[in-house]
């Protein structure tokens, strides 16, 4: 098949040929001999090929034609060097693939607007009590109602709250993540149901049990039943009517802000009467609002802040007194910002890391191209003689790089979708990243852009080098010692230096994370995590309505599990360490030295049985709780070491009294225990007050505003492997209540491990990219040194023949390699010093310029450089002088 431009080319050739023939026949007519006439015509005409070329230059789409020519030629050239092509393409595929994978995540999470109507106008509101150290909390129900009535900046405001539901009915029961939402939330987000309807404002009042299903739940549990609307299902053993199904793409609440998780079903927020009276409690509601059209962020933010006071003035007087000096403050931020802020640093650092990997890959390919350019001198000379211009040669060389980059890019795209899936499957629960990100058009655009950038990065220098050969003219291309050879030598050295600098930056980054992670894991959590099994016992409020029944259940449970053979100690706690805990404000009797009248924020948990002994939390002074600390005995509490020191500096806390706001009687401190990490490892220890669960007032069990007080965590210390006790423990639980579903069965070692899952994920990812970078850099320096040594074979032969010792030769080769690596390392250290401070937020107990990491990485890199040079150096050392002198 002939392409139009090929035809056109032949036409031109014929046109010029006819010109020659007509001139010749004219000359013959004028009496010249045929032979002379032909020659004269040709002389008159000039260089046919050149006339052809300058004429072609006038054609439209000329560049495309030439580009296709170059492309054909490039394909042939790459096909002739399958080894080179394979290495270059794989290197680029690795670089582009890694970039594409990370870009896919960055694009979906950071760059793309949230999947709601006019997402930039969606705001998140929060309350805070800065004086107590609470910078951002949700809204309490009564505060939310005051805010909704008073505000003028938002066209709509809505609250949501995650909540677990046990779904039962026609199929086996399941525990599902759900969300309570105000009726205004779905319209505010612009979310339309796929089937049925969303909530009406009438459903904001309690008592209307309606539910909206997510697409996923509708599919998996209800077999995509189109007639689902109006059907009934059981949530927490209460019937609910299905009124709607949301489309597949709808996802709410978005993971991130205030621990929100995507829900599988939604029920109306419908605050209960007790919730609406819960002043000063349960700051648990996420609040979303949509800015009025035309209103600027700052104006709305200022108004929201100004409403802090009117919220505070609605508080009951006794509470205002207790909270004296600790005012509420309302704040606002864009919803998008709240969703992405916790992962932004990580993603940007990963993006930077993969860009470095791609740069290293480019440098590697550039090095290969430069080395190969040496063998193309003859080809270049020929093309120049035939009239190829320098620009044309440059374009030809760039076309070859482009072809490499495009093949690498398409391989990279396939590689990227695999990497992305794998990477997202590793995302731990604690890192708010989506678990599934579809590849979209922008990723394809990115791959193309990355391929072009790659082309320029890795092709430009070698292309200039080749086109520079054209300047020297065809006949000057003599021995290897010519100028292009020296240029090549210098270019390669430059590339190796750059590569080492880049790899060093990446290695230092990941080195810092590894060191920080090691320190994190070594931190003392304040308890002994070995040989401890934990289980969550979510007992249902429907069955255990009365407080005495709950207390009785747990006392029996302690008794029975304590008697299992192999169990050393058992205890119950409302919250396990490392999982966060409910923070309250307490008053200190007599003000204490630290507090004055101002309440103090402290983390509060409830215990029964030998909890401290089970977890190995050391007693510093006084006593642990006993089963005698009951509801009818004197109210007592145990505080953590730091809390004791802070509240009563220089005094003995034992015998002092505290109380929780206005909701409890004064409690006497009976013991002081060691500090325990309530937050995941790496966070500073919090102040902590422990309370006997058996002293929890009946009110707590009757009033839902105090949350799920029935559900406790059982901790069991074993003599042998704690996991081996699991079935015996569950057996005992079921012997008390066969309907209980036990959740979160984990050993304490697993709890620790999952508390550092986020940092481990960061470390792993950056570590992988650093390893890839190191590998590429090592290949790069090996390639250059091996090539340079081959080129020097003659010189080495002469040296050996003149009496040089093999180790002199070894030294000669190693010296160059180490010098290049050393210069690269110096630049790398400078760059790393400037860049690593950006990741300070991800580091624990390690400075961003940690000298240990820096020196270790530099030594590691130099050692690898030495190794990479050693192989070619040894080969050089063994050169046979006779063979070497004959070389070429």
């Amino acid at each position: 098949m002939k392409f139009p431009w090929q035809r056109k080319q032949e036409d031109l050739r014929q046109e010029l040929q006819s010109h020659l023939q007509m001139e010749a026949s004219d000359r013959i007519e004028r009496g010249e001999i045929a032979e002379h006439a032909q020659q004269a015509a040709r002389r008159e005409f000039g260089n046919v090929a050149l006339v052809e070329q300058v004429t072609r230059d006038q054609w439209p789409w000329r560049w495309l034609d030439e580009f296709l020519q170059d492309l054909r030629y490039a394909t042939r050239m790459l096909g002739k060097n399958p080894g080179f092509t394979l290495v270059a393409v794989l290197t680029l595929a690795l670089g582009i693939g890694a970039n594409t994978a990370i870009f896919g995540v960055v694009n979906a999470v950071l760059l793309r607007p949230l999947p709601f109507k006019q997402p930039s106008r969606l705001m998140m509101l929060f309350e805070g009590i800065p004086k107590l150290g609470f910078s951002k909390m949700g809204f309490s129900a009564p505060d939310f109602m005051v805010f909704v009535r008073a505000q003028k900046s938002f066209e709509s405001v809505g609250a949501y709250q995650n909540k677990y539901f046990n779904i039962s009915g026609d199929r086996e029961p399941e525990r599902l993540m759900a969300a309570r939402v105000s009726s205004s939330v779905f319209p505010m987000l612009g979310a339309e149901p796929m089937l049925g309807r969303t909530f009406t404002s009438g459903e904001d009042a309690p008592g209307q049990n309606v539910v909206i299903l997510s697409y996923g739940l509708w599919q998996s549990r209800f077999g995509s039943d189109p007639g689902i609307i109006g059907r009934s299902l059981e949530l927490n053993r209460t019937p609910y009517t299905v009124i709607g199904v949301m489309p597949k793409a709808f996802n709410f609440p978005l993971r991130g802000p205030q621990g929100s998780e995507p829900a599988e079903l939604w029920v109306p927020m419908a605050f209960t009467a007790t919730e609406l009276e819960g002043w000063g409690t349960n700051y648990m509601n996420g609040v979303l609002a949509r800015l009025r059209p035309g209103l600027a962020f700052e104006q709305a933010s200022a108004e929201a802040e100004s409403l802090s006071h009117s919220i505070g003035s609605n508080y009951p007087p006794e509470l205002t007194k207790a909270f004296q000096g600790a005012e509420l403050k309302v704040g606002m931020n864009s919803y998008h910002e709240e969703v992405v802020k916790s992962v932004r640093t990580l993603l940007l650092i990963l993006m930077a890391a993969v860009v470095l990997v791609l740069l290293i890959a480019c440098v590697n390919v550039a090095t290969l191209l430069v080395s190969r350019a040496g063998s193309r001198q003859k080809e270049v000379a020929l093309r120049t003689t035939l009239g190829a211009t320098r620009v044309r040669l440059l374009r030809q060389m760039l076309t070859e790089s482009l072809l490499l980059a495009l093949i690498g890019g398409s391989l990279g795209l396939a590689f990227a979708s695999w990497v992305k899936t794998y990477l997202l499957s590793l995302v731990p629960e604690s890192v708010p990243l989506p678990h599934d990100i579809p590849t979209d058009g922008s990723v394809i655009v990115f791959v193309l852009a990355a391929s072009f950038v790659t082309t320029v990065l890795c092709g430009l220098v070698p292309a200039f080098q080749v086109s520079a050969m054209a300047l020297h003219g065809p006949l000057q291309e003599g021995g290897r010692s010519g100028t292009p050879g020296r240029l090549r030598h210098r270019l390669q050295g430059f590339f190796v230096t750059v590569e080492f600098a880049l790899a060093l930056v990446l290695l230092i980054g990941s080195g810092l994370l590894i060191r920080s992670f090691a320190k994190l894991v070594e931190t003392d959590p304040g308890f002994r995590p070995d040989h401890v099994l934990t289980l969550k016992i979510p007992i249902a409020s429907e069955r255990y309505t009365q407080a005495p029944k709950v207390r009785q259940f747990y006392e029996q449970l302690l008794d029975r599990t304590g008697n299992i053979p192999g169990v050393k100690a058992v205890g119950l706690t409302s919250d396990l360490p490392l999982n966060g805990c409910g923070t309250i404000a307490i008053q200190i009797e007599g003000g204490g030295n630290a507090g004055g009248e101002t309440p103090q924020a402290i983390c509060q948990t409830w215990q029964v049985g030998n909890y401290f002994q089970t977890l190995g939390i050391p007693l510093r002074k006084g006593r642990y709780f006993t089963l005698e600390d009951r509801i009818d005995a004197q109210p007592v509490a145990i505080v953590s070491e730091t809390a004791g020191r802070q509240f009563w500096p220089g005094q003995d806390p034992i015998g002092k009294r505290i109380r929780w706001g206005v909701y409890s009687p004064w409690q006497t401190i009976v013991g002081i225990v060691g500090d325990v990490n309530d937050e995941p490892l790496g966070h500073p220890a919090q102040l902590h007050v422990y309370r006997p669960y058996l002293q929890m007032a009946d009110l707590f069990f009757e009033d839902s505003r105090f949350g799920e007080v029935r559900s406790m965590n059982l901790a069991v210390r074993s003599q042998t492997d704690p996991a081996s006790l699991t079935s015996a423990v569950i057996g005992q639980i079921h012997s008390l209540d066969p309907d209980l579903t036990v959740a979160h069965i984990r050993t304490m070692a697993q709890v620790i491990s999952s508390s550092v899952a986020g940092p481990r994920f960061n470390t792993l990812l950056l570590g992988v990219f650093a390893a890839v970078a190191l590998f590429l850099a090592a290949i790069g320096i090996y390639g250059v040194m091996a090539y340079a040594t081959t080129q020097q074979t003659q010189e080495i032969g002469i040296r050996l023949a003149l009496g040089a010792q093999p180790r002199n030769v070894l030294y000669l080769v190693l010296r160059r390699g180490v010098r290049l690596a050393g210069v690269g390392a110096a630049f790398g250290v400078a760059a790393a010093l400037a860049l690593t401070r950006l990741m300070a937020g991800l580091l624990y107990d390690v400075s961003a310029t940690d000298p240990v990491t820096f020196s270790f990485v530099v030594i590691l890199l130099l050692a690898i450089a030495l190794l990479a040079c050693y192989v070619p150096a040894r080969r050089a050392m063994r050169v046979d002088p006779i063979v070497a002198l004959r070389y070429e």
């Binding site: 036409d11 046109e15 010109h19 007509m22 006339v51 300058v54 004429t55 006038q58 439209p60 120049t384």
Partner: protein, 119 residues
Amino acid sequence: MAPRYQNRIELLQGTLDLLILQTLQWGPQHGYGISQHIRANSGEILQVDTGSLYPALHRLERQKWISADWKLSENKQRVRVYRLTATGKKQLLSERSRWEQLSDAIAGVLSPAKREGQA
């Protein structure tokens, strides 16, 4: 490096275009014919270089001032024949008047006395 034609084309550009358009006014002609015609009518003074002629022809064709067809010549040879288009005719008129202005102006500069004498 080989000398380039590019410069010479640039020097001649406007003039060569005019000469080609003018030649084609007398009827369709092929490249060789055009070069012979210019040469003969300039008293053998203007020798059009093929490296300028063909690029110019192809450029004028692209600008749609001339069009080209394949024809059989008298000695049964396939030749590419150019003809003036309607827009080409207009272009010729404007180029001619520009050329006349230019040559008058140059003539005026070269022999001011004569010009004054006329006035």
